[in-house]
């Protein structure tokens, strides 16, 4: 493995970690389905101020 391989591997790992964090955040924020914009989420979400 050369430096490029290591950098690419790190980049993929970082992307996956960010994706996992994003999933957890969205799950906490919304109704649990993870989609921020769906009607279900917007109906449940405690919007600004909380």
């Amino acid at each position: 493995m050369n430096l490029t391989d290591i950098l690419l591997l790190l980049a993929v790992a970082a992307a996956v970690v960010l994706a996992v964090i994003g999933c957890i955040r969205r799950k906490r924020k919304g109704c649990g389905c993870g989609c921020d914009g769906c009607t279900g989420c917007s109906k449940q979400k405690r919007s600004s101020g909380k």
Binding site: C31, C33, C35, C38, S42, K43, S47
Partner: protein
């Protein structure tokens, strides 16, 4: 004679309202009380339900329920409009402006630093969420049909960080009829907000003020926001706000939530009366001299008798007394009255009924509407007929016409799907696909030139680019479909669909209102499941939730498109239509099965208000599309990306974490092997298909990304058209994604959620088997 015998265009006066229970109370709350004049507007294309006009709005109800309403025809020409008093200058009473009606010292302001809490309460479709968005700067979803909001939402008023305003589902009265209405009543009663902002649709003021009358009884500061004043004045109507304030004893502020007019004034009033706890000046609306004063004496007598009980139960006195007269058992229980007291109340009520000539509920409703008519007579100049009304009537002659309604609905849905899959969405998808392919090629060449390790190269190109890229290209189609669905929602057409589909849906055991969640289900199952909260019966709600997964959601589109382009490129449109219709047809069959087994009995009565057609707000639609696009991209780069990388990893390594040349030796193949015997009979025994279907449980789009990764040689070289057909049918019907199952669990509990997940898989398996057997009999391979 009953209402069902009245012909189109004829008017009648309500003589008596038969029936019992919550439905009867609901009719009374909607203004169907003895003495009310109503006009039959039309019948639905199949002859049932019927549309009526009363108190200046349109109500729909079934013929069976119309048979409970005894009427006497009003001859033509005798339908005189009530004259409104000529405008005269009235002094502004200035409620809430420095305490003019509450001299200094008579009120105690809340301590500094107290968080002021507000409840936004009003009828369905009166614009509460639009106002909430204006007040808080939120972007909550709004629509033009009754019951868009099904749960409470909180936010702080812009510029007032020490405030908390709660948007509540619409209610017609404090006698809730459906489950989301209970949310509103409980909030007002139990959480006791510092102030109620009562939003009143000025274009439909009589029925809207009915709730206001009940809110005033709550002994909580109230400010009335007269919404849609712009529409009223544009049509030549007007409201003498000063006179209305004086008669109601609370501040009244004319606003237009959609245009943002009058919002600052409303906030100033609301904050002031909340801080100084300025309660309504009037709660006593029963006229001492009306009809011998029977209702007046009855209410006041009960007020005196229950004062101590209401105090200890923490219930507003006047509200509790009205509820006792109406016969509300929940409130009566809360008051813990002794047997002797209860009997006393019943004697008082019986005497009132005898003197007034109306039963208890009707007498109270009549008392309220009598005051409202007097109030409107004093302060409201109604427009002759609004432009919106005329426009709606013109459109309805075609869209809900006897012979045109169903063909128009089929035509509109066909046009929506044609534009989405063949014209706009498909065109944009091709463009995006070309871009993604070009980018993949550039990256592929760059990695090759940089002599990147073969495994990492495979992870990036065969894993991430193939998986995420294949899903991304469906963005235009999904956004386009949502665009059309939001147009239908915002225009007011969806309520009409419920009206004319009621009779058909009743045959499968559902009410017309069930069509709203089902149409939303074509977009996403999660909001569809939540939208069932507007259904007034638990039976209808459960049944609708269980049928929603049969409506194919947009997330399944990539699966269909993937297989159609690989196996049936020339019959794409036909197969798409067949799949959607197949889902609906299976849903109908399952509904019939449920009707005869799990959910015996009849659907609840259909009582629904028909809103005027409105042009969908550009800002609204643009906001929804942006949210959908953002959501889809976030999913693609979160759930789908993770699934793609995990699948690539599991199919590239074996149990000893050694790279495998043949994916058949991988961890994934070993794990999926367990399900092979189950899926073999339906032709889906390939471990790669099983893995794709399992990944679809997380998000349906994942099926395609996983297939892209696993079938690197191209799915058409491995599967046969018959297997593809089985796969399409299985994907259409098998368990909804985890998000939808979670919302079923939230609404109905864990047992039903498992029932949906397992039940849908069984139905999908059977349907796929049927397709396979038919295919084999026809000699298709």
């Amino acid at each position: 004679m009953t209402l069902r015998e009245i012909r189109i265009g004829e008017a009648a006066r309500v003589e008596a309202l038969h029936g019992e229970g919550a439905l009867r109370q609901h009719f009374l709350d909607m203004g169907v009380i003895p003495g009310t004049q109503l006009t039959v507007v039309k019948y639905a294309p199949m002859g049932d339900p019927m549309e009526l006009r009363l108190h200046g709005y349109e109500l729909t109800l079934r013929l069976a329920d119309a048979g409970q309403i005894e009427v006497c025809p009003v001859p033509a020409g005798a339908q005189a409009e009530k004259k409104t008093k000529a405008y005269r200058r009235t002094e502004h009473p200035g409620l809430g402006e420095g305490g003019r009606f509450h001299p200094k010292g008579s009120v105690t302001p809340l301590p500094e630093g107290t968080q002021l809490t507000f409840a936004l309460v009003g009828n369905q479709n009166s614009g509460k969420t639009t106002l909430f968005n204006r007040l808080t700067g939120s972007k909550q979803h709004v629509g033009n049909f009754p019951g868009v909001t099904v749960d409470r939402k909180d936010g702080a008023i812009k510029g007032y960080p020490e405030t908390l305003i709660t948007d509540l589902p619409g209610i017609y009265s404090m006698s809730p009829y459906s489950s989301e209405e209970i949310v509103s009543r409980n909030f007002v009663l139990q959480e006791k907000p510092h102030c109620i902002i009562n939003i009143v649709d000025a274009t439909n003021i009589e029925r809207n003020l009915y709730l206001t009358m009940q809110l005033l009884e709550m002994d909580t500061p109230v400010v009335v926001a007269l919404n849609m004043m712009d529409e009223l004045t544009a049509n030549g109507g007007s409201i003498d706000v000063n006179a209305m304030e004086k008669l109601l004893g609370v501040p009244v502020v004319p606003i237009s939530a959609a245009k943002g007019e009058g919002i600052d004034e409303l906030v100033e009033h609301a904050v002031h009366i909340a801080k100084y706890q300025e309660k309504p000046l009037r709660q006593d609306f029963c006229d001492k001299s009306a009809n011998g004063g029977a209702v007046h004496r009855c209410l006041h007598g009960i007020c005196h008798l229950i004062e101590d009980h209401a105090d200890s139960a923490g219930l507003p006195l006047r509200f509790a007394a009205s509820k006792i007269v109406e016969g509300d058992t929940l409130i009566t229980q809360q008051l813990s009255l002794e047997q002797n007291e209860q009997e006393m109340m019943e004697h008082i009520v019986t005497q009132m009924e005898r003197e007034r000539g109306l039963d208890r509920s009707a007498a109270i409703a009549d008392m309220r509407f009598s005051f409202i008519l007097k109030l409107c007579g004093e302060s409201v100049t109604k427009p002759v007929e609004s432009r919106e009304r005329r426009r709606s009537e013109r459109l309805d002659t075609f869209l809900t016409g006897k012979y045109t309604a169903i063909p128009a609905f089929i035509g509109i849905m066909a046009l929506v799907f044609w534009l989405t899959f063949n014209v706009i969405g498909a065109g944009l998808q091709t463009l995006l696909e070309t871009g993604i392919d070009a980018l993949t090629q550039v990256c592929d060449s760059a990695l090759t030139n940089a002599h990147v390790n073969a495994t990492i190269h495979s992870l990036i190109i065969d894993g991430i680019f193939a998986g995420v890229g294949s899903v991304l290209s469906f963005l235009p189609i999904i956004v386009t479909l949502f665009f059309f669905l939001s147009l239908l929602e915002d225009s007011g057409y969806i309520a009409r669909v419920a009206f004319f589909m009621d009779k058909l849906l009743r045959r499968i055991g559902l009410s017309g209102r069930s069509i709203v969640p089902m149409l939303i289900g074509f977009g996403c199952s999660v909001p569809a499941v939540m939208a069932t909260r507007t259904l007034p019966s638990e039976r209808d709600r459960k049944m609708t939730i269980l049928l929603t997964p049969f409506m194919s959601c947009t997330a399944k589109l990539p699966i269909y498109a993937f297989f159609v382009s690989a196996f049936f490129p020339k019959r794409g449109g036909l197969i798409m239509v067949a799949l959607y219709l197949g889902g609906i047809l299976t849903g109908i069959l399952v509904a019939l099965l449920y009707k005869g087994t799990l959910f015996r009995g009849e659907a609840v009565p259909f009582v629904m208000e028909l809103p005027n057609y409105r042009l969908p707000g550009l800002r609204n639609v643009a906001q929804l599309l942006w949210e959908k696009a953002k959501d889809f991209l976030q999913r693609a780069f979160s759930v789908i990306l993770i699934a793609t990388v995990v699948v690539w990893f599991l199919q590239s390594f074996d149990l000893h974490l050694d790279l495998v040349d043949d994916p058949g030796q991988s961890i994934l193949a070993a794990a999926a092997g367990i399900l092979v015997p189950v899926m073999q009979p339906v032709g889906l025994g390939d471990w790669r298909i099983i893995v794709s279907l399992v990944s679809g449980f997380m998000a349906k789009e994942s099926v395609v990304s996983t297939m892209e990764v696993l079938f690197s040689e191209g799915v058409e070289t491995v599967l046969t058209p018959l297997t593809a057909a089985s796969m399409l049918v299985f994907s259409l019907l098998y368990t909804p994604c985890v998000a939808a199952i979670a919302s079923v669990r939230r609404e109905l509990g864990g047992r039903w959620a498992v029932f949906v997940a397992v039940g849908q898989c069984v139905i999908a398996w059977l349907a796929a088997l049927l397709v396979r057997v038919i295919g084999m009999l026809l000699g298709v391979m």
